[in-house]
């Protein structure tokens, strides 16, 4: 007999009864997964990054399967913030799901505009700021790869959104010094970090002999990137042990989720694994509970960063 494990977690001042979350862009706005499990049984639904205006995204083909992974190039297709707040958020709250809204912009100003719209919305648990987007004001350089632009985005969001709502800055692993970018956004007002976004990649079609994806490059996700995620979380947790991390990248089982938690994640988002198995999140959550119990953890939170403990 093992005792039940307390699975609750916190990200900034937001409390969640369970540590598993959807990953932004891998659960749309939640409705589609409701057929497979009750959305209120997981930590929260992290919604697809939304921008200020409706967007078509990139041309097809938008995906290519790769060994133990996939490349995607969706280009942030979405309904725009107004429609999203009018339709999708109320539906999620009706299901008693907790909601983390992910926002994305093309300019520092756009992020602030989005934050202003979120300020008046009640019932959401946190905002995830996806800064892995091209900055149109700086030749399309991705915000998350530019320490100064990353800081300015988070600073703008913090100032407009005001006090309470936790801000989680989502970072890209495609940088040389991840801990310094992390420190920059935390100094600018982020309460937590989401690690990692997809890894930039490309597939060339050997029949057409051109890049396969309509957008040419794409983001690599799935089990192929899990070691990159573990490394990123470990490095950032070592540098900033007090800052909560929402970990993600290739998690497909309870063992994978535990690995990210031991590296320093306070919660784990499931992205690509839901494509192969729409009930993956629930299954992983149950596996994680058993693994924690088998290792003698009474609470999930005791396992956070446990891989960093001093040698006995």
């Amino acid at each position: 007999m093992t005792l039940p494990v307390d699975m609750s977690t916190t990200l900034g001042n937001a409390w969640f009864p369970a540590p598993l979350f959807t990953a932004s862009g891998c659960a749309s706005s939640g409705k589609e997964l409701a057929q497979f499990f009750p959305l209120n049984q997981i930590g929260a639904v992290v919604t697809k990054s939304v921008m200020s205006k409706p967007r078509h995204g990139r041309p097809t083909p938008r995906m290519a399967e790769t060994p133990s992974g996939m490349l995607n190039s969706i280009g942030l297709q979405g309904p725009g913030i107004d429609s999203f707040l009018a339709n999708d958020v109320p539906w999620l709250l009706e299901q008693k799901a907790r909601v983390i809204v992910s926002i994305a912009g093309e300019t520092v100003e756009e992020y602030s505009t989005l934050a202003r719209k979120l300020r008046s919305v009640s019932g959401i648990s946190a905002v995830e700021v996806n800064i892995s987007c091209p900055n149109v004001e700086n030749r399309g350089l991705v915000f998350a790869c530019d320490p100064d632009a990353s800081r300015r985005v988070i600073d703008g969001v913090r100032k407009t959104i005001g006090g309470d709502l936790p801000i989680i800055a989502k970072l890209s692993p495609d940088v040389t010094d991840l801990p310094s970018i992390a420190r920059g956004v935390v100094d600018a007002g982020a309460d937590g970090l989401a690690l990692i976004n997809t890894v930039l990649g490309m597939v060339i079609n050997i029949d057409s002999m051109r890049p396969h994806l309509g957008g040419k490059t794409g983001g690599l996700s799935g089990p192929a990137i899990k070691p990159v995620a573990v490394r990123a979380i470990y490095q950032v947790h070592a540098a900033l042990p007090k800052v909560p991390i929402l970990g993600m990248g290739g998690v497909a089982s309870g063992r994978d989720a535990l690995e990210l938690i031991l590296a320093g994640a306070s919660g784990v988002s499931i992205g690509t694994a839901s494509f192969g198995n729409p009930s993956a999140i629930i299954e992983i959550q149950n596996e994680l509970r058993d693994l924690l119990a088998a290792r003698g953890f009474a609470t999930m939170q005791q396992a956070i960063g446990y891989a960093h403990r001093e040698e006995a």
Binding site: C26, S28, H56, G57
Partner: protein
């Protein structure tokens, strides 16, 4: 409460038989009661490669037919072309194999309430869902004519028992190895006129669906087509499978072919924009 794919369930089912038919494999799965909610046009998403596979995404296949069979209970038939590693894996599975499926997914062909004249057009394995559809239409008193086309005769799927549900069947191959030489679109407008066709139901390569749409654009014929876009999830959460579709108000939206399709109204699909991005949204 789910509002999308309300009847879909994920389950591990047993493969009952796997027979080669020309270039395809006819795969029969013992799926149980879920057959009751499968409609012609729906598809199934199948996990491939076994537990330790490096293939992480499901593969989509049209549900060819379902039956409530006394021997096996509910069975589902698929017609699978061995194409790449996932479909080849499925075609290599033997009787008794356990297969992880999610079904039924997506939209179905609209079934008329009146007895109409229907023309069913299939390209390659695209004929698979049309025989199940023909049964349903026939039971509604519709007149059902069918045109099938493929590059070569081995890629025509037309089972003997399926032919009973159609009033006529015409086959075209590009190399002339079966039926007439040419394509299904050859004399399409004449056929539509001579037989007073009210609705065309089609399934096959996108180029065929687009050509049919263009041919019937000036007629009164309704064209329901089952599209095939590459899908990562099949359940509406990834946005990879989108097609440009025109709204009533004239704007074009990128709709997910897995939940807003695979069956779509051909005249609404902006075939000219497939693989491109529509004009910016207001």
């Amino acid at each position: 409460m789910a509002t999308i794919n309300k009847n879909a369930i994920q389950q591990v089912v047993t493969l009952v038989s796997n027979k080669r038919i020309g270039a395809y494999h006819q795969i029969l799965l013992n799926v149980g009661d879920v057959v009751k909610s499968c409609r012609p046009g729906n598809f199934v998403a199948i996990r491939v490669g076994g537990d330790s596979s490096k293939m992480i995404l499901r593969r989509a296949f049209a549900i060819s037919r379902v039956a409530d069979n006394s021997q096996y209970g509910g069975t589902m038939e698929l017609i699978v072309a061995p194409h790449g590693s996932g479909s080849k894996w499925l075609c290599s599975q033997q009787e008794g194999a356990e297969i992880d499926i999610i079904a039924p997914l997506g939209t179905a062909f609209g079934i008329p309430t009146e007895p109409i004249n229907a023309l069913l057009i299939g390209g390659g394995y695209g004929s698979a869902p049309l025989f199940g559809l023909a049964d349903v239409l026939k039971n509604r008193g519709c007149k059902v004519d069918m045109l099938l086309g493929a590059s070569v005769g081995s890629k025509i799927y037309a089972p003997m028992e399926g032919k009973r549900s159609v009033n006529s069947l015409k086959i075209y191959t590009e190399d002339g190895s079966m039926g007439e030489t040419g394509r299904v679109t050859e004399n399409l407008l004449d056929i539509v006129r001579d037989r007073n066709v009210d609705v065309i139901y089609s399934c096959g390569p996108m180029a065929m669906l687009s050509a049919i749409t263009a041919l019937v654009a000036e007629t009164e014929v309704i064209h329901q087509c089952a599209v095939e876009e590459s899908m990562a999830c099949g359940v509406g959460i990834c946005m990879t499978c989108v097609l440009p579709v025109q709204n009533e108000d004239g704007t074009t939206l990128m709709l997910r072919s897995c939940i807003d399709g695979p069956v779509m109204d051909g005249s609404n699909v902006r075939w000219d924009l497939v693989g491109k991005v529509p004009e910016a949204l207001a």
